[in-house]
């Protein structure tokens, strides 16, 4: 299988890798770029653990091919925190115990960030439906939803 040279931007860094065209963006992030924060829970777009921002859109990176990343810009969980400080969602998730095993957490954070950038005043129902594509088996979602709502409130207050 001939590999394809891919040049892309990940979390602000120019990155190049060789991708087997069958490899997903998730495979490439994890195996070629060494960014293992995005997780594979299903590989079929059902769990959201691999959520990334792909050219501004929230995607399941298991449903994007690595070769599609050519010339694009990608944000992963590894790029979420600032140099000095965590993103408000990351802080709130820790403070409010919105994670247990932590495996779904990167995907949920990426998805929640995408929501709040689009709408910083979502209703609880909107948050629940937006995150319906991110499965969590530990928390029963309660604390996750509350942490997202609370972060949104904080973002509104500081805006």
């Amino acid at each position: 299988m001939n590999k394809i040279h891919v040049k892309t931007n990940i979390n602000g860094d120019q990155v190049e890798f060789l991708a087997d065209p069958r490899e997903t963006l998730l495979d490439c992030l994890r195996d070629h770029v060494g960014l293992t924060g995005s997780k594979e829970g299903c590989g079929t777009g059902d769990c959201g653990a691999c959520s990334c921002i792909f050219d501004g859109d929230l995607v399941s990176s298991c449903l994007v091919l690595g070769v599609e990343a050519e010339g694009k810009s990608i944000e992963t969980i590894e790029g979420m925190a600032g140099r000095e400080e965590l993103h408000p969602l990351q802080k709130k998730f820790i403070e409010m115990a919105a994670l247990q095993c932590g495996f779904c957490t990167p995907g949920i954070l990426v998805a929640a960030k995408a929501l709040l950038e689009k709408n910083n005043n979502p209703t609880e129902t909107e948050v629940r439906y937006w995150l319906a594509g991110n499965l969590c088996r530990c928390t029963g979602y309660d604390k996750i939803i509350k942490a997202v709502m609370e972060t949104a409130k904080e973002i509104r207050e500081t805006a």
């Binding site: 299988m1 394809i4 065209p21 069958r22 997903t24 590989g43 079929t44 777009g45 059902d46 959201g48 959520s51 792909f54 859109d57 929230l58 995607v59 399941s60 298991c62 449903l63 994007v64 091919l65 070769v67 599609e68 998805a111 995408a114 929501l115 439906y129 937006w130 995150l131 319906a132 594509g133 991110n134």
Partner: protein, 287 residues
Amino acid sequence: MQYHTPSSFSEAVNISNSADGLVKYLAGGTDVLVQLKIGTKSPDHLIDIKKIPGVKEIALREDGGWTIGAAVSGVQLTNHSKLSREWPGLVEGMELVGSAQIQSRATLVGNLCNGSPAADSVPGMITAGATVSVVSSSGTAEIRVEDIPVGPGLTNLGTGEIITAVNLPKRNKHEGDAYLRFIPRTEMDIAVVGCAVNLSLENGVIRSAKVVLGAVGPKVEVATPAAECLLGEKLDEDILSIFSDKCSELAKPISDKRGSEEFRKEVIGVIAKRAAKKAYDRALGNK
């Protein structure tokens, strides 16, 4: 597997016609990549159409209708306020396909080409009277959406034929559409049954109606006899009940892991009735 990124549809057709083995087109990839992952379909050639100019555009035509590029995502449709206002049923059908993550990628054309009788966006396209533009080496054709699916996973399209866009007719006043489906959860499921209804009214009386049922047969089915029950009516409870029974009667579902034949026959009537009500309210101009 070879990955191609043609810059025009004619180039895509050429690649497809000269390729050996299984050829698949890639737009949103939400079906193709799943098939690749679980190994049900392993294409030898994957033709990514997203680099073709115009495929991600939603355009208002001079005749007042819409042309939606083959790679327009669900999110683009939902965010398009004028289109959503005119064709809420069609847009909500697309919006029900998968999660927020899927919405960034999934397309109307992909949903249609997957050939699933449970495809959420297809009933709404059919009730809207939508057509698709198909290019092949012999030129371009316009085909009604309802003529594309032929059975589970099967379409009328040959290897060298590619859908370039979906075309919607001009929307008139006092028209409304709706799509509803039933799933066991609130999200992330494949429709157990689905129904789209498009109505046009004159003084509150239904003058034309189109009804399409999903997931109750080998392909999405146009339910003309059900639509006919609605003509000349104002959609009171009695008519809704007759309509509901008619839809149940027309449904020819199977029993599978997602629902029994009995359940589907029953619930298609319920969902159809609810969809008709919603479409009627919209046609009246009620929110």
